[in-house]
């Protein structure tokens, strides 16, 4: 047993879906178990952190790390596993791009705490109790890991060898990675395990030249099942999203959400969506443009649904412009300065 290469799986800020996804490789899991010494996975194994600390540096062959980094504990574990692992894989959308936890970057810690523990309509908390990092009780001091203002991705805190995007990653890519490791044919560091084309490549829908004069929300129209959703005015991030999922969402009449992140070579997927979608708007005056854009509420939410933490701007500003509150900023519909219009 000691001869086998060691495999670790860890979850930071994540939902647990990535662990389930690993099971989706079905009987292949037996080969994995056969090949690796599966030493660490808090979800299913009762190994302790101290056990990991006890390992030699680099003793773990591969760590599949899912979840974003948003607490002191996340960071500690990321740093620890980095030190102990030869290969660290950012596994799943949270670890690669920030994913849903990364949406917290539209707010700051205070706003998060207030909403989650006090203001959310489903919360009953008349005393307004929120968690503290440390509190003195009769028995001594109790501690919780520090909660960050900003959610980060794994590669923003430690170096990462490979990325396996997807929320969750598709089984075939997990298989591909695991097989590559087992075969000792490791791709160059930095490789994103997936395709280098976009979802459109796998999408069976028929596409035409594009002109968008209205964005529809999914409940507003029943889309033609054979035609490109974007051509029908439904937001679909597939044009700027790495392929690999087999165009799952579009094939069930739902626009791509963008969970695989931007494709090869693209630095900021949101910027590319802005560019592409704006380019095909059917409008040539600021007023007409505004009219169409009014049908696309929350553009930042659409464009950075998965990738905000890993995007170039990373989060909303902490210090608002001219002392304005962030909420006021968001409500404001920016319009072109009329002077610059013509």
């Amino acid at each position: 047993m000691g001869d086998k290469p060691k495999l670790a799986i860890y979850w930071a800020s994540s939902c647990g879906g990535c662990e389930i996804a690993i099971l989706a490789i079905h009987e292949k899991i037996l080969d994995v178990a056969d090949y690796f010494d599966f030493i660490f996975c808090p979800c299913i194994l009762d190994f302790k952190r101290s056990d990991i600390e006890a390992l030699e540096d680099g003793e773990i062959a591969v760590t599949l790390f899912n979840g974003a980094i948003r607490t002191d504990e996340n960071l500690e574990m990321a740093e620890l596993l980095r030190r102990k692992s030869q290969v660290l894989v950012a596994f799943g959308s949270c670890a690669t791009e920030g994913c849903a936890p990364g949406l917290a970057n539209f707010n700051d810690r205070e706003q998060m705490m207030n909403f989650i523990y006090k203001d959310a309509p489903t919360v009953v908390n008349p005393e307004g109790i929120i968690p503290l990092e440390a509190i003195q009780v009769a028995e001594g001091e109790l501690e919780l890991p520090g909660f960050w203002n900003t959610v980060k991705t794994l590669d923003q805190v430690v170096p990462v060898e490979y990325y396996l995007p997807g929320c969750p990653p598709e089984a075939k890519w997990i298989e591909a990675l695991v097989e590559a490791v087992m075969a000792g044919e490791l791709p160059p560091p930095g490789t994103v395990v997936g395709m280098d084309v976009t979802v459109c490549d796998e999408c069976p829908r028929e596409r035409e030249e594009k002109k968008i004069s209205h964005f529809y929300r999914p409940y507003e129209i029943i889309p033609d099942p054979d035609k490109c959703l974007l051509d029908q005015g439904l937001f679909c991030a597939g044009i700027a999203t790495r392929a690999g999922c087999g165009a799952l969402c579009p094939s069930v009449n739902m626009g791509c959400r963008g969970c695989y992140g931007p494709n090869e070579g693209v630095i900021d997927g949101g910027a590319k969506l802005i560019s592409a979608l704006a380019s095909v708007l059917d409008a040539n005056s600021p007023e007409e443009i505004d009219k169409i854009l009014d049908t696309l509420p929350d553009p930042a939410g659409y464009f950075y649904r998965f990738g905000l933490a890993h995007s170039m701007l990373h989060r909303t500003r902490l210090e608002m412009e001219n002392g304005q509150k962030m909420a006021a900023q968001i409500k404001e519909t920016p319009r072109l300065d009329p002077k610059l219009k013509d």
């Binding site: 002191d72 810690r109 503290l132 990092e133 910027a271 443009i289 001219n322 968001i330 013509d342």
Partner: protein
């Protein structure tokens, strides 16, 4: 040297930095004309020549903001006079959507502006730079790095009075 503290105290001794994207045919030539005509304007604009504002990739704008620029000015030919027929309309649409998106991220939409100047309008070019500089000066520095990348994720503990534990 202009003292920008009068517009916003946060400037300290520095001046606003604006990255300009100027199309080769109209606004870059307007900037050239401003030069040959010796029309002075604030030394805040650092421009990049692109063939057409249609080449404007929002990635560039975001890149400029994150690399330390306080604003981005995109200038092209007047609508209807694009050398490539309608590249400037594409820029107009992209900038409109980009500004909406950026404002959600707490970046004031006025930090990204679009303007038009024909090759003969050196004066309009200068006026646009002046106006933009003043707007940015009033907004204060963007300080993307300080603002968006809290170098230490560790914040001071939350105030104790918030909690009434046990």
């Amino acid at each position: 040297m202009v003292d920008y503290k009068q517009y916003h105290p946060a400037w300290g001794d520095r001046s606003p930095v604006i990255i300009g994207f100027l199309c080769n045919w109209c606004s870059y030539r307007a900037a050239d004309l401003a030069g040959t005509s010796r029309f002075g304007y604030p030394a805040t604009l650092r421009d990049i020549r692109i063939m057409c504002t249609g080449r404007l990739d929002p990635t560039f704008v975001i890149k400029a903001l994150r690399e330390g620029a306080d604003g981005v000015l995109v200038m092209g030919c007047h609508p209807g006079q694009c050398h490539y027929e309608e590249g400037n309309f594409k820029a107009m649409r992209r900038v409109a959507l980009l500004r909406r998106t950026l404002s959600q991220l707490g970046v004031h939409p006025d930090r990204v502006q679009l303007g038009w100047a024909s090759a003969a309008q050196g004066i309009i070019f200068t006026e646009t730079v002046k106006e933009m500089t003043e707007k940015i000066a009033k907004l204060g520095p963007l300080k993307w790095h300080d603002n968006n990348h809290d170098a230490s994720p560790h914040l001071p503990p939350l105030p104790e009075k918030e909690a009434t534990h046990g």
